[in-house]
Symmetry: none
Subunit: 209 residues, 4 copies
């Protein structure tokens, strides 16, 4: 059974190896200009091998997002499980969001772009449902935190889900826009975190009673 286990581990490592390569190639060339052969070369594997681990290019691409969604969920569950006071949980939430961004900025941006993309049509139902499930579970935790704050009277009375949506929108909006600016202006200076912090400040002031 040790052999079985070792094989499992090796298989998983291979998957990771491919995903690491894919990450690099996708982030350099974008989805369209990245070819499976590029990725194979980057992973020091043959093109055929990629298809032993991923059904097709789309699935490989989407799988990258899966990792960050998993991290997001874990991070949010961690926040939820600590029994914090409402306002404390808001701070913890904010920290979680920063962590998620730091975990893999490029992939997070991919995820934001993915959502409204056509790519979703050609991936396997299993993968799609995994994504949906992870998203929804994460999202309901954010809503839960918002609800707690509303219930305890520290937040204005709004539908928690709506507030969660706005929170997430602000998060993704700032990240996308600050990244865009950087690219368009060939700018090295990165205001992202500063802006994100300010954005959350304004949000908090706006939502507090």
């Amino acid at each position: 059974m040790g052999i079985q286990e070792r094989k499992e581990r090796e298989k998983e490592r291979r998957r990771q190896q491919i995903m690491v390569a894919a990450r690099r190639v996708f982030s350099k060339n974008g989805f369209n200009r990245a070819t499976m052969e590029d990725i194979a070369k980057e992973a020091e594997l043959s093109p055929g091998t990629l298809y032993l681990y991923f059904k097709n290019k789309d699935e490989l691409y989407v799988s990258l997002s899966l990792r960050i969604l998993q991290y997001l969920l874990i991070r949010l569950e961690h926040v939820k499980n600590k029994s914090l006071k409402p306002e404390e949980s808001l701070v913890a939430l904010q920290e979680a969001m920063f962590d998620v961004y730091d975990f893999d900025p490029m992939i997070l941006i991919n995820l934001f772009h993915l959502q409204s993309s056509v790519t979703l049509k050609s991936i396997s139902p299993e993968l799609l449902s995994q994504i949906k499930s992870l998203s929804q579970r994460s999202f309901s935790i954010i809503a839960y935190i918002m609800a707690k704050n509303i219930k305890y009277g520290s937040f204005i009375d709004q539908h928690p889900m709506a507030v969660a949506n706005i929170y997430w929108s602000l998060f993704s909006g700032v990240i996308l826009w600050e990244t865009s600016k950087k690219i368009i202006n060939n700018n090295d200076k990165d205001y992202l975190k500063k802006t994100l912090k300010k954005a959350f400040e304004i949000f908090n002031r706006g939502i507090l009673k």
Copy 2:
């Protein structure tokens, strides 16, 4: 010279005709799956003709964004030129944003996606600089309105440009995220405008002194 003019006008009309067709095809199939032949057919022209008006597929795509950027600028200038009280100008700004969304939601979303994309690399410098110029001019108007409110003491003291960025991020973030949700969940119900309104409310509460 009348002839010259008429030719100009006709040429411009042709361009519009193509862009209208492109818009339809891109929005139906997405950028990748939309072929130049599809667009040509939709425009009742031949593929070759498209290349008399646009350097390549990318330029045609990006040109669509140009239109909405132009509209955005005009709309914002209109807000600026009316001599409104600070808080009034904020309301007017919000109205402008809604108008821009209504002007062409699909293309606006494209614009948001475009920003951090690789597409920008294959378009002509002229087109790129047009985009930059329009963006910046629009942006400085938003910043100007924010500055006015800060100066007149109704807003908390923050760098106007930062506030403008957050404002725009919130706008784009809500639109992208609400659209995403609709697609992922195969949902027909559209909460976008309602959520956008609430988002601006929170922003306003958060930014007001």
Copy 3:
């Protein structure tokens, strides 16, 4: 309209040009080992061009059979339309079969092989129904001739359709088998026509009252 016509003609000529090339390549390498690139090269065209005239490789392959089926039908109709005495029509039928073989032996053999192949699954329904229709119409003429002979008392009493089937089976069987022998034995001597003639003689003796 002269232009229209000329274009039609040229388009048809192109199709023929491709089919001629395909015929050569398929007969040299067989279906599997023949690549679209080979055919394109043989036709002095680019691979892409082939797809302007044929949906895919299968369709191109099957289209070759269409020509001979069309010829078969024309030839059989010709036999039917001549008002011949029963026994004369049998002679005429035999001549028609020989003509069909001479028209394009290689493609005729393809047709025989095609029938029980899996290829039929990936061709367009239109093409398939064309093939079916041509086959059936041809076949009913053979049956019609057999029926005439039976009715006039020169043939033994058998179901005309069954007799037609046996006739066609004998025809295709002899052609396939004689061709096979030639290939297997690397034989240049061609007994096909002689054998076919004898086969029909035996058939005739066997069917005559």
Copy 4:
């Protein structure tokens, strides 16, 4: 030496196991769409193992035909060895042919298709010569039976080999054509045996003095 033998037997059994699986997969998917992996799975072996018993896919395919050719020869020798009267041997021959068809219809059809195919080029000379040898030996028995009938004056005077060829052609022709019809027309009703019987009847009437 018992060990040697047992190993031989086991090796042969393994070969059979693979051929049984191959038979199933080929008949389900056709030669092209059947993959070595499919066959391996069906045989509950790994792909690599297949290559320990067969040089390549073509050889595996052709080996299936070998079995039926062996059966054909045995069956024909059996007919020959019984000292039958000429006309009786003709009946026995017919029975043998039906038995061969029943032995494995699908593989028999494969064999008919194989004959004029390009596949033969990529198999080993040994296998090819085995096929040739079996075919020829079978064939000469058919010719022998025909010769006997001619010699004894019950058959018209024709070259026995030619008659044998026509006999075999009729047999294969009917089988191929009836199978084709079934496939093309999605027909479940199977007229094969009935038609084959009639075909032999006509042949017999045609060949008898």
